[in-house]
Amino acid sequence: MSKARLMQGNEAVAEGALAAGVLFYAGYPITPSTEIAEIMAERLPRIGGTFIQMEDEIGSMAAIIGASLTGVKTLTATSGPGFSLKQENLGYAIATEVPCVVVNVQRGGPSTGLPTAPAQADVMQARWGTHGDHPIIALTPSSVQECYELTVKAFNMAEEFRIPVIFLMDEVIGHLREKVVLPDELTLVNRKKPTVPPGEYIPYENNESMIPAMANFGEGYRYHVTGLTHTEKGLPTGNPEVTRKFMQRLTQKLDPYLDRIQLVEEVQLDDADLIVVAYGCTARSVLEAVHIARSVGLKVGLFRPITIWPFPQKQLEKYVDRKYLVVEMNNGQLVGEVERLFGYKAVERLNRIDGELITPKEVLDRIREVI
């Protein structure tokens, strides 16, 4: 029998992580994400796991990568200023292909900004915040229920694809209280471990799946991990041919799996003249506006990327020859992806960057203007 509970978004993330089997959390306090750390501090030691408060977010990111190499599922959570500090070792986790989940409960503004106000302004940072060409997965929930279920999926993707998964929330969703129905059964994925004896193990093997098997530290598979460009054996190299192959696999390794990675919600799109693209808390206002618009005969639909990176291009590009409106709480970030598909002339925007929510009425007014 499914259990229902009233939960806050951040709490649902913590519960989802525990349900997914997280056993290690390292973090540094920051509003509006701190509840996740507090729950982890209370729960993890009870189940044989570890919580550690590090000296900063750089160290937190480092610690979860180190712990993950020993075979445990790991989590950290932060907000904008801390997310900036995590970029260095986020890049390290990407290059060394170490699974972990990084929550960013977005707040307003650059720098210290608006600590207690919502925003969606780290969308591009989630994609390109760390230097160099790289793949990334970023998921963005719109409800507390989704916080729970999507966190489980975030861990599954991290484990399956050996990649850090960014869980991009906003302050509204993080602090919202809603009913969550805890599913009876969850599908959990664990990283693929080597099946060959240690002597034959190739830690960064360029195999057909593009995802090499991952051995735990301390179990007899002695291998090297480095953020330097490396050979399939994991050893540093400057050889252009080896580098090309490594970079090719790294940057393309998600491609065979995009169908499963790119999650979207599509509401009344088939006959829509206007497709509104929105995600996170903003999508809630848009959904309401779409319902009202429909009730007065306007053909409007919602396209909600749940997976924001890699951007679900395939799912959206089938809706050609419509009008598009991208609603986001930033100065226009994800809109660039939609413009790339349909040309900037076909795409309208609605943005807000003052820490206030975009209301259904604002969306409706804008819908009327552009349709």
């Binding site: 290690f24 570890t50 550690i52 990568i65 530290f217 291998y223």
Partner: protein, 271 residues
């Protein structure tokens, strides 16, 4: 000389990248000899390093090894040790790595007294990037970014670690490499955060600019300026003590955490 410890090396990765006359190789051999003498299980030993010439060491060693980001070796090692306390975790850092960019991590690893065996290869300079001043470059000495002599004063790294709560500190040099082997063993045996400062020579990025004609001159400098506890200290500023510098007892982080887990388990069992 190398054959006694060859089993601990990824021999296919040799030759190494270090310059002729560099002290890091000698220090690496001394560390590996301590692991051999301690008879540690090769599969249970983890080497973690930062970024720099010294931090390239783990790549040559046949353990589970991780070459992390500049200054961050200790928080990576903290994650490994906290998740799997039964692993033997050694951390290799440069002087810039551990005291400049990683200085905050150093004092917090010491404060937690987490059971890591850290070796700081102190060559008084940023070797890998070509000889810039580090927080351990002596006053008045030259680096490419202190062309008129260093205006700043260096850290005393072991004083820093001790003050922050570390429970073992020792110092040796590339010249005194047998002593280094012994000290690394003692550091390993200390159940807490232990730091061994291994003074090294960087003839290429430091020696040339600071009136050392040959690597041998630098080794002789190490020999002449080192003194042991109880030996009378000479009047020369550059002299430094070698051997164990401090040792104390304090609760170790991963053990304390395990006690917490046990306590919570008992509470839940007893209702």
């Amino acid at each position: 000389m190398f054959s006694d410890i060859a089993q601990y090396f990824r021999t296919e990765t040799l030759p190494h990248i270090w310059c002729p006359g560099c002290g890091i190789g000698t220090i690496m051999a001394a560390i590996v000899r301590s692991i051999k003498t301690l008879q540690l299980d090769q599969n249970n030993v983890i080497f973690v390093s930062g970024i720099g010439c010294s931090s390239r060491m783990p790549g040559y060693l046949d353990f589970n090894t991780i070459h992390t980001t500049h200054g961050r070796a200790l928080p990576f090692a903290t994650g490994i040790k906290a998740a799997r306390p039964e692993l033997d975790v050694f951390v290799i850092m440069g002087d810039g790595d551990s005291t400049a960019i990683g200085g905050n991590h150093l004092i917090h690893a010491a404060r937690r007294n987490i059971d890591l065996t850290a070796i700081v290869v102190n060559n008084s300079i940023y070797g890998m990037t070509g000889g810039q001043t580090s927080p351990l470059t002596p006053h008045d000495k030259r680096g490419t970014t202190s062309p008129f002599g260093n205006l700043e004063r260096p850290f005393q790294i072991l004083d820093l670690v001790k003050a922050a709560g570390g429970t073992y500190g020792a110092r040796a040099t590339a010249y005194h490499n047998q002593l280094l082997t012994k000290l690394v063993m003692d550091a390993y045996n200390n159940p807490g955060f232990s730091v061994v400062e291994a003074i090294s020579q960087c003839p290429v990025s430091y020696g040339r600019r600071n009136k050392f004609k040959t690597p041998a001159d630098m080794l002789l400098w190490q020999k002449e300026h080192a003194f042991k506890a109880g030996q009378k200290r000479t009047a020369r500023d550059e002299d430094f003590q070698i051997g164990e510098i401090f040792k104390s007892e304090a609760p170790e982080y991963t053990q304390e955490y395990e006690k917490l887990r046990q306590k919570l388990r008992e509470v839940s069992l007893n209702g």
